[in-house]
Amino acid sequence: MIPLRIKVEANAEQPFVVRLRSFEAMPGTERGACHPHDVCLEAVDANGAEYVGEGGSLRILGIDPSEIDGDVLLVNPQRGTADRIIRSSSPHNTLLVTERCDQLCVMCSQPPKKQHVDLFEHFAIAAMLAPEGATIGISGGEPTLFKDQLLGFLARVMRAREDLHFHVLTNGQHFDDADREAMHALDRSRVVWGVPLYSAEPDVHDEIVGKPGAHEKLLSNLAFLCRVGAQVELRTVLMRPNADGLPRLARFLAASVPFIQTWAIMQLENIGYARQNWSRLFHDSSSNFSPIARGIDFARSRGIDVQLYNFPLCTVPLPYRNLAPSTISDWKRTYLEACRDCRLRNHCGGFFEWHPKEHGYAGLGRAA
């Protein structure tokens, strides 16, 4: 697995953001071209690498500098750690803006916590340092619990960096009409809002997200997102409580939520609460793909784009495989022993690193 947190030594009190630069490979590059938040590789020895910038020096331990060139770090000098919040070589960079959430989903991969530290200032600096044309994910917890800061952050960064795109995961519970102006201020073509809807049935949805009334609020806010012209990626995590309802959900989307860019049907991630609840939640799509197939066919017949996220290709029947891109982020992706000689491996997202050995798929490996 790709390490997201690395050991550092820095002589400072408060957390700060830097971008690592190594000019060894670029002879003739002027140091003057550096951004004030850049630190440049000065020396490498057996234990670590020394970087120097305007604000002082930073020592990185336990990782080859060539693997982290261009990365943006949020350094916590007290703890002696740094989070690689933007990895220059990866298309999967996500800023975790809070761990608080007002929902308590049965399969939450990142169970919420009460405490919150506002890092928007650091995130704004980091985003400004992101590689050209990057798409930056925003996640939580629930990012829109800090809606004003979030929308302000997006507006500010998008104004300064017209090449950047954002993908914001939100439960859609906290928008209201007063946000129209702030939403209109964003370049809508560069922000996709990933919003989960698990069922057409209010009870089923509310039960899954652990919040009575969530379905009703979500529907009204989906209408809001439509009216402000937001791009919506509607996300449905596949689970036993909602699997059989997918065809009905597809009909509901075509009639009532036709403005989505994509309907993403997502296979379950075995972490957080989903791990605890695995046996009652995991739907083996390799042995029963039928409700998924019927949902997909209906939605696509009505012109809705459907994608399958986090499905190993061999668990998806052939006619639907072209809808299953490799979506598991590089740093949490792995393949099983059975995948070793699979000819589809390069196109397959594989498994989450933490997927159990008893993977639960009866029909694994048929694609090989």
Partner: protein
């Protein structure tokens, strides 16, 4: 209080009724539902069904209201920037098809090609196009007779636009080394006419064995030489002497073309002079419907799926919004917006049909020329009839959200555009095609379901995917 969006209805031969709203939402039901709907006697199960299917809302701006507004809006064809230009560098042709749709002149005629000044003005006009993408269709006459003009336009567009595509509409009768070399490029495509099997093609187009042999050997050479997708073809069908459709499909499949756009002999150009007999429309509709049934049966039999392009387009327009990529059916269909035609004398026309109609001197539908620019006031006059929303007949028709209009066809046939819509050929043809679409999608046999699925680009199609309310 629940508010219902208005429903229109149409009765089918089996007495079932189709109901459709302005946004294209539809379902099948029966006469008793119609009674309840018309007499304000809807039951709670009626209301529940209508709410679940997106035909009602509680209050303005709620999700059902917003979604309906969105679906309605997306069914309107948005005007786009000019990105498609049909060029007629010459009207001369080396064939004389009996029903020539484009009013050709003899190969040796003089004064029917672009002059140097016209070429210059055409290039200057292309330079004014703002977008970064362009598609150029070379029409004729036979455009390959003036390869030099084609070269000049292509060189110019490749330099001017970041993405440029070229389609040469050619009869493939005379291909010298220079023509082959021109067609070789990856950005250049071939469109030709193939009326069916050898016999039909010879009867309708080439008129002698040697020319027929040349055509087929050139077509075969092109198919062998280029990847699939490089060559497209259209058959023109004479309702008084239709081709053997099975042979036509075989012929197309043999050349790797799986999408066939069946066209009736057009009413424009010289074809106007042909007597197509009584009930030409009814006969066409029957032929077309039979062709769809043949396709379904053949697809099922061979497992190799082919489609009738226009039928697939109408099928998609019934089931979802956004199928606006064909200029023959979209609503509104504003003229001189995303595409325009430049004739051999540099005159602009809104469509190729308008060019043919003007050529025979019945009416002048030109809209300016490459030197003086587009005549916007004339375009606006044509645009005033370019949508069906307020037509006194269309507003009652269940197919209105799926359908379109054709001002030029109306002028061509009737000399006016204000006929009762149901008396027009356009309306008769589209009522029949949408009737066929609805007949086919509600069928339950495996053969029909498999073809519908393939035409829609999905894995499986089933009647359970359609709303029926009783």
């Amino acid at each position: 209080m629940t508010n219902l969006w208005p429903l229109r209805f149409r009765e089918f031969a089996d007495r079932s009724l189709l109901f459709a709203d302005d946004a294209g939402g539809f379902f099948k039901s029966d006469a008793s539902f119609l009674d309840r709907y018309a007499s304000d006697g809807l039951t709670s199960s009626d209301k529940e069904f209508l709410r679940d299917s997106g035909h009602s809302y509680d209050k303005q701006f709620d999700l059902p209201w917003t979604s309906f507004a969105y679906r309605w809006a997306r069914r309107q064809s948005k005007p786009q920037d000019l990105n498609y230009v049909i060029l007629v560098p010459t009207l001369r042709c080396n064939l004389a098809c009996g029903y020539c749709q484009v009013s050709r002149v003899a190969e040796t005629a003089r004064g029917f090609d672009w002059s140097d000044e016209t070429l210059k003005a055409v290039l200057a006009f292309l330079k004014t196009i703002e977008g970064s993408e362009i598609k150029i269709e070379f029409q004729g006459g036979e455009p390959l007779l003036r390869l030099d003009l084609l070269e000049a336009v292509r060189d110019f567009c490749r330099a001017r636009f970041s993405s440029a595509q070229f389609v040469v509409c050619t009869n493939l009768q005379h291909l010298d080394e220079a023509a082959w070399a021109f067609l070789e490029a990856d950005d250049t495509f071939i469109s030709t006419s193939l009326d069916g099997d050898r016999e039909t093609h010879e009867r309708q187009r080439t008129h002698d064995r040697a020319r027929t042999t040349t055509f087929f050997s050139n077509l075969e050479a092109a198919v062998a030489r280029y990847p699939e997708g490089k060559i497209s073809a259209l058959p023109t069908v004479d309702v008084t002497a239709p081709p053997d459709f099975e042979a036509l499909l075989e012929s197309y499949e043999k050349y790797g073309i799986r999408s066939v756009y069946l066209r009736p002999i057009n009413h424009q150009g010289f074809a106007r002079k042909l007597d197509q007999g009584e009930n030409a429309l009814a006969r066409w509709n029957e032929l077309h419907a039979d062709f769809i049934d043949l396709l379904i049966e053949r697809n099922h039999r061979t497992g190799r799926f082919m489609e009738e392009y226009y039928f697939s387009q109408c099928l998609k327009r019934v089931l979802h919004f956004g199928a606006d990529n064909h200029v023959d059916i979209r609503n509104p269909n504003f003229f001189a917006a995303d595409y325009i035609v430049v004739d051999h004398d540099g005159r602009f026309y809104p469509t190729d049909e308008a060019r043919m109609l003007s050529r025979i001197g019945r009416i002048d539908l030109s809209i300016g020329d490459v030197t003086s620019g587009i005549d916007r006031s004339k375009v606006q006059t044509l645009n005033s009839g370019a949508f069906n929303h307020f037509d006194p007949d269309c507003i009652h028709c269940a197919y209105q959200p799926f359908c379109g209009t054709d001002v030029v066809d109306d002028i061509s046939r009737y000399g006016r555009i204000d006929l009762p819509r149901y008396e027009t050929s356009f309306c008769g043809r589209h009522l029949a095609i949408f009737d066929k679409v609805f007949e086919v999608i509600y069928r339950q046999d495996e053969a029909s379901k498999a073809s519908v699925a393939t035409w829609l680009g999905i894995a499986d199609w089933d009647i359970s995917m359609l709303a029926v309310h009783s």
